[in-house]
Every structure is written in structure tokens, then in C-alpha cells.
């Protein structure tokens, strides 16, 4: 099977700070990859490089076999790359409906002029109610997005990403700030997406979550690839343990 996302020897430096160095991985359709590492390891930078917010200094990125290294972020999004952010990014001054419609616009790609003359997709409601069923709460569509509690906003961002009919999802710390119930909902939604063949990259600090959901895990440290493998392999890798917990001084002596 062709990988849906391929990252090849990617480098990125900000001034003298190396944020990513020789990072490589591949994801097949339906695979979930956990991307972990201590704070400042370059995880979010890597997502930004994939989604095109930053441009790579070196290396190549392929979506669905196509080299996208030079393409702008919005083109990559239109090729089926969806992402969520560490703290959810919405249109603060718009209603929940409009925020979600934005995801729909991306999936539809109807064009501004056709949209002006009233063209729209009809199956929006069924799809949305299915997704909201998984998200496990209902909202007043006309309410302000800011009226929602943080956890629901995070879930809604995943719903919006799914509404775009993505091929790849980049999910940045979905578990941060969620209660265990909401966490289950995130898990369910990501597994639902993977079942549909979406390739997923999840950054997460909560180890139970990321080890539970991932097919394989990539560990970064100081921008470099530290380890890669199944959750079991990675969590027993001494280099990973050292990066996370530090070296045991007693053991050295």
C-alpha cells in the first residue's frame, strides 16, 4: 500500500535553534502514529512543516505520493490534510454553525461564485449528526463559539476536521485539558477516522492515551528522531526512557 503521508529527511532551523533535523516517517492509510517527545522536541514544528505553515529548510514531504514540499498550506489542506491545534482555533466572532460550515466548504470546494448562487451539499445534516453523536454532546448552532466549555471546543475542532473529509489528520495534543469522558470521545472519533482510511498523526503527552491509540510511535528529542516502533518497543527503549526521565545518577555510580 502507498503511504498517504511521507516525510523524508526534513530539516528546519529558526536562527541557530534546530527545531527539526533529519526527521523521516511514513504513514499508511488508516494508520495512527503517535508523535511524542519532551517539551521543545520539535513535535509541533513537525506538524507545521507537514501542514505548510513553515517551509522546510531541507527534505521532502509527500501527500498521497505527490511532492507537496513547495506548496502553500491552503493547497495542502485542499489535498485532504486536516489539522487541529493545541488550543482550538475558531472564528471567535462567528457562530458555531459558521465555524463548522467552514470545514464543509473545504470538503465541498464548490467555489465562491457557485456558493453565492446557492449551491450546497445536501447530506451535511446527516453527517454532522453522526459526528456529533460520537462527540457526545449537542449545541445550539447559533450560539457563540466562546460560549462552549474548553473540552467541547476541542471536540468540535475534531468534528470540524472530520467534516473536511480528510485523508490525513494532524492532531496536536487532543487530550490536554479534557476529562476522561471527553477523552474517550476523542479516542472514538480518531479510531472512526482511521477505520475510514484516514492517516493520523497524534501529538500527545498523556502516555496512556497515545500508547493506547497508536499503531506505531515516533519519538523526537531536540528535533532529532530518537526512536520509532510499536508502543511496546518504544516504551522499553532505554534512549526514550532517558530522554523522558533523565539518567539515573545512582545507576551510573
Amino acid at each position: 500500500m502507498e503511504p498517504i503521508l511521507k516525510v523524508e529527511h526534513v530539516d528546519k532551523a529558526f536562527g541557530g535553534v534546530i527545531a527539526a533535523e533529519n526527521v523521516s516517517f511514513e504513514i499508511l492509510p488508516g494508520q495512527i502514529m503517535g508523535l511524542i517527545g519532551p517539551n521543545g522536541a520539535g513535535k509541533t514544528t513537525t506538524l507545521n512543516l507537514i501542514s505548510g505553515i513553515y517551509s522546510c529548510d531541507k527534505g521532502e514531504i509527500y501527500i498521497n505520493g505527490k511532492n507537496v514540499t513547495k506548496l502553500p498550506a491552503h493547497t495542502r489542506a485542499r489535498m485532504g490534510l486536516a489539522r487541529t491545534f493545541q488550543s482550538p482555533r475558531f472564528l471567535q466572532r462567528s457562530s458555531i454553525r459558521e465555524n463548522l460550515m467552514l470545514g464543509l466548504d473545504l470538503a465541498d470546494q464548490i467555489g465562491y461564485i457557485s456558493s453565492f448562487f446557492g449551491k450546497k451539499r445536501s447530506d451535511f445534516d446527516t453527517e454532522l449528526s453522526e459526528l456529533m453523536g460520537m462527540a457526545g454532546f449537542t449545541v445550539n448552532w447559533d450560539a457563540d463559539i466562546q460560549s462552549l466549555p474548553y473540552g467541547q471546543r476541542k471536540l468540535l475542532e475534531i468534528v470540524r476536521a472530520l467534516l473536511t473529509h480528510p485523508k490525513i489528520m494532524l492532531v496536536d495534543e487532543p487530550a490536554a485539558g479534557l476529562n476522561s469522558k471527553e477523552l474517550m470521545r476523542v479516542l472514538e472519533m480518531l479510531q472512526f477516522a482511521a477505520k475510514k482510511g484516514v492517516g493520523i498523526v497524534v501529538i500527545e503527552h498523556q502516555m496512556d492515551f497515545v500508547m493506547g491509540i497508536s499503531d506505531f510511535v515516533t519519538v523526537l528529542n531536540f528535533g532529532k528522531l530518537l526512536s520509532q516502533g510499536t508502543p511496546e518497543q518504544v516504551s522499553s527503549d532505554p534512549a526514550v526512557i532517558e530522554a523522558y526521565l533523565g539518567r539515573d545518577i545512582d545507576a551510573e555510580n
Binding site: S51, G52, I53, P72, A73, H74, T75, A77, R78, L81, A82, R83, F85, R89, F90, L91, Q92, R93, S94, R97, E98, M101, L102, G103, D105, L106, D108, Q109, I110, G111, Y112, S115, F116, F124, D125, L128, W141, D142, R160, T164
Partner: protein, 334 residues
């Protein structure tokens, strides 16, 4: 998620429009009609700013420059080249659309405040050109004797006829803007305004969307320019100064930056204020300035915000009364 209801707000708006169309010509003398008509023309251009600033979050002073281009273009096409006036009006709007496409593509290489500053530069360049390109603009003396606008054989030769025509144009432009707000273009603009990073990751080409908003604003301003040339019968550089450019922004800010009705109210407030306050003419700027600061502190959503608040309060009160009556009658029934 469909909502196509006739709401109280819509009915109120319709009635207000009807009352305006009937009432204004009935109570206004010819001089006052001139003021009202120019307010209607300014509204068309101010709508463009409302799109740029309110929907797309881009602060631009350029409307006045495009208004000037539209005015001089319409004048030259009709007066010098003898083109039918309606055709000249449409072509001048097309001309400003092309100009704004070109200038927008250039200026939106800059972002945020830098873009705003560049539009100020544009205003200065254009007002200098208007003043000095005498063969095209008549220089400081301007151009007089512009023919009346002729709509398929119907001559707009009185202020009252103009009023109805302009009001219809305003309503069409207003509906156009409201339609945009509800389509994917409106949502893309809102995403550019609120969060460019999110916009990009949702497939919105921010550069393109900004240019589209700039072109729409430029076209509306160009249309307003053509209208003012035909309406006044004269054009002069004084109409297209930086002073007027700031007025536009004040209109939109006072009215409510993201509201068509608010922009309408703001336009009238700013246009009528010098007339109403003519005894205090020396202090006009002072009063305007204080008003702006007070509004921004206490009511940042402008007149539209105040209107909305009052309307929802009235609705609540009505609903309360109604439900009280209902429970009372139910109790009686039991």
C-alpha cells in the same frame, strides 16, 4: 440547520425601509434631499469598507481613491466620449474593479498595519494625480456640466427621482453584501479576519480572499464615485481627499463594523452631523472625536449593537408579557 424564517427583525427592517422611502421625500426640502442623496451614495462606498474591515478584518483607506477613479472615469466616458451615461457608470465600476485587482494584488504583499499604511500612501498618490492630471480631471477647478444619468430613456433630472434610484441601489448593494456574508466567501473572509492560521489549515487562500474583498470594496467605491459625479453634475478633487477617507472609516466604526444596517446608520450620522450641528461648526471635529472615543469604549459594536440590544430587550419583554398572559389564562381555565 436550515433557517429561513421571517423574523421580527426582518419585518422591522422592511417597514423601516418603506417608511424611509416614503417619509424622506415627504419631509425634506431640496437642500436636505441633496444631503440625503449624498449620504446614500456614501453608503455604497462605506459598504465596501464594511466588507473589508468588518468581514475580512483588513483596514483600508483606499475607498476614496477608487471613488475618485470611478467619478473621473464616468465623467470622461460620458462627457468627453459621449457614451450613454448608464454604460459609462457600469464601465467606470468595471474600471475600478480592474484597478483594485491590480493594486490589491500589489498591496496585499503587505500584512496588517503595513497594508493599512500603504493604502494611506495610495490615497495621497491618487489625490495628487487627481489634482495634477488636468486633461483628465480638470485639476483644482474640477469638471462641470456632467450630463444627467439616463436609465433606459428615463432621465434622473430631479433630486427626488435620484433619491428613489439611489435608495434602490443601496438596497441591492446591501442585499449583495448580506448574501456574501452567508456564503463560503463570507466564511472564508471571517476566517481570515479571526485566525489566519486556522483559515490556511482549512484550505482558505488568505491572499486571494483579501484581494477579492478589496476588489468588491473597490468596485462599490467606483460605483459610488460614478453616482456622485452624475448626481452632482460636477466633480472636484475636494471630494476625494484624505479627510473624506477618514470619514468613511468613522461611518463604519460608529455604525457597527460588521453590520449593513449599522453602516447605513453610521453613514447618515456622519453625513448629517455637520448639517444638524451647523451652529457648532467650529467644534464639529471635537464632537465627532469625543463621540468616537465614547462609542469605542462603551459600545464597540456601534449603533448596530445598540439597535440589536434594544430589539432583543423589546422581544424579551413582549415574550414575557405574552407568557404571563398565557399562564394567567391557563390558571383561569383550570
Amino acid at each position: 440547520m436550515k433557517t429561513k424564517k421571517i423574523t421580527g427583525g426582518k419585518i422591522t427592517l422592511f417597514l423601516a425601509c418603506a417608511a424611509f422611502a416614503v417619509g424622506i421625500p415627504a419631509i425634506c426640502n431640496p437642500y436636505q434631499m441633496t444631503v440625503v442623496n449624498s449620504a446614500l451614495i456614501y453608503f455604497v462606498a462605506a459598504l465596501g469598507i464594511s466588507i473589508m474591515l468588518g468581514m475580512c478584518g483588513q483596514m483600508s483607506f483606499a475607498a476614496i481613491s477608487f471613488m475618485g477613479m470611478g467619478a473621473y472615469c464616468a465623467t470622461q466616458l460620458s462627457k468627453t466620449l459621449g457614451m450613454p451615461t448608464l454604460m459609462a457608470l457600469v464601465l467606470s465600476a468595471v474600471f475600478t474593479a480592474l484597478m483594485s485587482l491590480w493594486i490589491g494584488a500589489l498591496l496585499f504583499r503587505l500584512s496588517g498595519g503595513y497594508f493599512t499604511f500603504a493604502t494611506i500612501g495610495l490615497v495621497y498618490i491618487c489625490s495628487s494625480l487627481f489634482l495634477n492630471l488636468k486633461p483628465l480631471t480638470g485639476g483644482a477647478n474640477g469638471i462641470v456640466g456632467i450630463p444627467d444619468l439616463n436609465l433606459f430613456g428615463y432621465n434622473l433630472d430631479s433630486l427626488y427621482k435620484w433619491f428613489f434610484f439611489l435608495f434602490a441601489v443601496c438596497i441591492l448593494c446591501g442585499l449583495f453584501v448580506e448574501r456574501i456574508r452567508r456564503t463560503s466567501l463570507g466564511r472564508s473572509m471571517a476566517s481570515v479576519r479571526d485566525n489566519e492560521l486556522a483559515a490556511k489549515s482549512l484550505g482558505v487562500n488568505c491572499y486571494q480572499v483579501k484581494i477579492i474583498s478589496f476588489v468588491i470594496a473597490g468596485t462599490l467605491a467606483g460605483l459610488a464615485g460614478g453616482l456622485i459625479a452624475f448626481h452632482n453634475g460636477t466633480v472636484s478633487t475636494a471630494l476625494f481627499s484624505f479627510q473624506i477617507a477618514t470619514n468613511f472609516v468613522i461611518m463604519v466604526m460608529l455604525g457597527g463594523v460588521n453590520s449593513t444596517v449599522g453602516t447605513f446608520l453610521g453613514t447618515f450620522l456622519v453625513t448629517l452631523m455637520p448639517e444638524v450641528l451647523s451652529p457648532l461648526a467650529d467644534y464639529l471635529r471635537l464632537i465627532q472625536g469625543v463621540l468616537i472615543i465614547l462609542m469605542m469604549i462603551f459600545m464597540p459594536t456601534g449603533l448596530a449593537g445598540i439597535g440589536q440590544m434594544l430589539l432583543s430587550k423589546a422581544q424579551k419583554r413582549l415574550a414575557n408579557k405574552f407568557s404571563k398572559k398565557k399562564t394567567a389564562s391557563q390558571e383561569v381555565g383550570q
